[in-house]
């Protein structure tokens, strides 16, 4: 598959835009505007670099894509958005070339648009319900809301840099925020804006959560995450890295010794799941978390400079079908693996990964083996991986999630020869805080239980994001953060009223 060059796409878009500029477009005309292809790095070239794959719409493309929106009265896209961004309004602003206004509209409900525009699973959210997709009878033909969001966010970043939100006068209240992923960033920003003192406590040496240690540079440039962190710092949020709550300090000592008035837990789902099959502890088997952390956070892909080693993969098997699996597979490609095989129990339709990333992976030469699951990993006398034995599956009745349940076919074992296996079947909630804080109630998966305001079973302790939802998404984490921040603010305000 060859891609049109960005120059070609821009030229074509400009021509079309000029032809409709100024005209009052009918619904029919809008529906005839072709969906804009996102410019991207050449698939062959990008196999050997870590730079971002998709390059983002040009201005003409963005305005043209915006013109595809029908400005529906009952904007069903908004219902599909977990935080309810006013989608038609921001798209209208883009169509009119009022970019600053567009970003201001998004910012009312989403503080991380440059990130969400890149990593949200739009095809399951706003774009799933979009009228344009319905009319074309193809949800993939919906208005590219995510790419438009990214366009204005990048436009703002490149023109003025994201401004520093105003901070109200100090209230004298102090909040500790555990973790620095999207949930925690949102809580910190919202509470700081209200004038509370906020300290982020992060275990790693670099803040940002999964967005820095998990999601690779080629999908989400780290500079974007760093900018968001800098914005927090400029607002006066204090960030303490190398601080592991549960070990460096116990949760209740944050109250007893450090005197915080409230605590938010956004410690994420960092515990890698393993399959529990034979051979899983052989040399050459890694959790996707380990492989990605070495490559991203520790920069092991930069073999010339990084001290942290990374296993040199030759033939790779990746187990799983989500974003984590795609990131692991595509990282292996960039580490010069000769062959990368994704092994997934169901079919392409059921893959939870963002559709765009599955396409990108395919373009980069990743091979997909659907309806297969590893049964055991084979090793040699040196305990190094030499292959994986897979069992074939067929789809049976739908399960609780509505997806058809894969059923193994007896006697269907085949062996794929590999020297590296990347286990990417998901993550469970990070257990350290709950283990060291028995008062915190959890469900059977170890997720912290909260009420509808994000409050946990402990007084003054709130939680949100993956630690509550199980491994979910950036936007849901952000939404949870919003909610918890509002409750924490209410609590702190009523404290002040009581003491007044």
């Amino acid at each position: 598959m060859s891609r049109a060059t960005p120059e070609l796409l821009e030229r074509e878009a400009t021509r079309l835009l000029n032809s409709i500029e100024g005209a009052e477009l009918t619904r029919k005309q809008r529906l005839e505007i072709p969906q804009q292809t996102i410019p991207a790095q050449d698939p062959v070239e990008r196999r050997s670099n870590m730079s971002e794959v998709t390059l983002g719409y040009t201005e003409a493309q963005a305005r043209l894509e915006a013109a595809r929106c029908l400005q529906c009265k009952n904007a069903v896209c908004v219902e599909g958005c977990p935080v309810g961004v006013d989608i038609p309004s921001f798209i209208q602003a883009i169509e009119d070339g009022r970019y600053a206004e567009a970003i201001a509209i998004i910012h009312r409900t989403n503080i991380l648009p440059a990130i969400c525009g890149r990593v949200c699973p739009q095809e399951n959210q706003c774009q799933a319900t979009c009228t344009v997709g319905k009319v074309h009878k193809d949800p993939l033909k919906a208005v590219s809301i995510g790419r438009l969001e990214r366009f204005v966010a990048d436009y703002e970043r490149s023109t003025q840099g994201s401004g520093v939100p105003e901070v109200k006068p100090e209230t004298g209240k102090r909040v500790a925020v555990i973790g620095s992923g999207p949930a925690s960033i949102t809580v910190a920003a919202d509470l700081r804006r209200e004038g509370h003192a906020v300290t982020i406590l992060e275990a790693f040496h670099r803040p940002g959560g999964v967005m820095v240690y998990g999601i690779p540079e080629f999908r989400l440039p780290k500079a974007i995450v760093e900018d968001e962190i800098h914005t927090l710092e400029r607002m006066g949020v204090e960030i303490r890295t190398n601080f592991l709550v549960g070990r460096t300090r116990r949760l209740h000592d944050l109250f007893d010794k450090d005197g915080y008035d409230a605590v938010f837990i956004g410690s994420g789902a960092g515990l890698p799941k393993f399959l529990g099959i034979e051979g899983e502890n052989l040399v050459g088997v890694f959790s996707a978390n380990e492989f990605l952390t070495r490559s991203n956070l520790m920069k092991a892909y930069d073999r010339e400079h990084a001290e942290t080693p990374i296993f040199q993969p030759r033939k790779v098997a990746v187990f799983g079908g989500g974003n984590v699996a795609m990131d692991a597979a595509r990282t292996a490609v960039r580490l010069e693996a000769e062959e990368v095989n994704v092994i997934y129990r169901r079919t392409r339709t059921e893959m939870p990964a963002r559709a765009e990333e599955v396409d990108n992976a395919e373009e980069e030469g990743v091979r997909f083996h659907f309806l297969r699951s590893p049964k055991r990993i084979l090793g040699n006398e040196d305990e190094r991986v030499v292959g994986v034995e897979c069992l074939a599956y067929e789809l049976g009745e739908p399960d609780d999630s509505g997806r058809r349940r894969p059923v193994p076919i007896p006697g269907s074992e085949t062996v794929i020869e590999v020297d590296t296996a990347l286990v990417s079947i998901g993550n469970d909630s990070h257990p350290l805080i709950t283990q060291t804080t028995p008062e915190l109630e959890t469900n059977k998966w170890g997720n912290i239980l909260t009420d509808e305001n994000g409050k946990t079973s402990m007084d003054r302790v709130y939680a949100g994001g993956d630690i509550v939802l199980g491994a979910a998404t950036v936007i849901l984490a952000m939404g949870e953060g919003r909610k918890a921040a509002a409750s924490i603010h209410e609590l702190l305000t009523s404290d002040s009223d009581d003491s007044a």
Binding site: T199, A203, F204, H205, R206, L232, E233, R234, G236, V237, E238, I239, R240, T241, N242, F243, L244, R247, T248, R249, G270, L271, P272, F274, G276, E280, N281, L282, V283, G284, F286, S287, N289, E290, T293, R294, M298, K299, D302, H305, A306, E307, T308, P309, I310, F311, Q312, D382, E383, R384, H430, P431, L432
Partner: protein
């Protein structure tokens, strides 16, 4: 308001104990306050490209707010750490990590420390002694000048046996020999603690396996985060996968699959050799 609060992690004292073996005292008030015997830290010399390396906390002074680390400068990162002078700063220092040692009254304890493993052993023996345990310590080293913490160990042990591989000091023996002899006497120990190279711990376990005595070992697997989120440190214990950084570092050695652990320790051997080779070449050039 300056926002990023980076602890200073300043080096307060630095001393060379043996060839390639260093002891440093580092300012780390929070870690000093929380730390208990058996726990470790993860440190990184350079935030951008540095490696995260685990080191057991050899001692801590909560009053002063400092911890003591003893390490062998073997790889590039530990060599860089050894090159830091008093007043120098360690970019990142995380801890205390891992579960503390179970300290209680066992009765008679044999503590076996091999090489640099004597360093993490010292605080454990010290705490066990405080609980009234009677301790026999065996220190093993390749040669005389690599014997460390002898007088410290002597001060907390009823009996101290030093062995060297080449016989240049103490007994010419490997640690399993005196260990086997002690287990042949009338009164079997109630607990054996073995800390040192993986291969030494494995043989200590084998030496006493038929006696039905628990052998506590402290595992030194490869780690990245040290917080339980990568699984790189995993070992098989009693047929189950455990993460050394959060479930350990101490386990009953009788249940540990040492053969698998030994192979996993060599996962990056090729890369490491290449790097070390490169850095030697650099040294020669300089």
């Amino acid at each position: 308001m300056p926002a990023r609060m980076v602890a200073v992690n300043r080096i307060l004292e630095r001393e060379q104990l043996a060839p390639h073996v260093f002891r440093i005292r580092v300012e780390a008030p929070l870690i000093a306050e929380e730390r208990r015997p058996g726990q470790f830290v993860i440190l990184q010399i350079d935030s951008e490209f540095g490696e995260r390396i685990p080191l057991t906390i050899a001692d801590a002074d909560p009053e002063e707010g400092s911890i003591t680390l003893i390490f062998q400068a073997v790889g590039k990162s530990t060599q860089q750490l050894a090159a830091l002078n008093v007043g120098g700063k360690i970019a990142n220092l995380l801890g205390p990590l891992g579960r503390p040692t179970e300290i209680k009254s066992f009765g008679r304890v044999i503590a076996v420390g091999g090489g640099i493993g004597v360093a993490p052993m010292f605080p454990i023996v010290q705490a066990l002694k405080r609980e009234g345990n009677r301790i026999t310590t065996i220190i093993g080293a390749r040669t005389r000048e690599l014997v460390i913490l002898e007088s410290e160990m002597r001060s907390v042990s009823e009996e101290l046996i030093v062995c060297t591989d080449d016989g240049s000091y103490g007994r010419k023996a490997v640690v399993t020999e005196p260990l086997a002899e002690l287990c042949r006497s009338e009164r079997l120990p109630d607990l054996v603690v073995a800390i040192g190279p993986a291969i030494m711990m494995k043989f200590c376990v084998e030496t006493v396996r038929h006696h039905d005595i628990p052998v506590m070992v402290s595992l030194n697997t490869i780690m990245v985060d040290g917080t339980g989120m990568c699984g790189g440190c995993r070992v098989t214990v009693d047929g189950e996968t455990k993460f050394v950084c959060v479930d350990g570092p101490e386990f009953d050695g009788r249940l540990v699959d040492f053969n698998n652990m030994l192979k996993r320790l060599e996962a990056y051997r090729d890369q490491e050799e290449r790097r070390l080779h490169e850095c030697r070449i650099e040294e020669v050039r300089e």
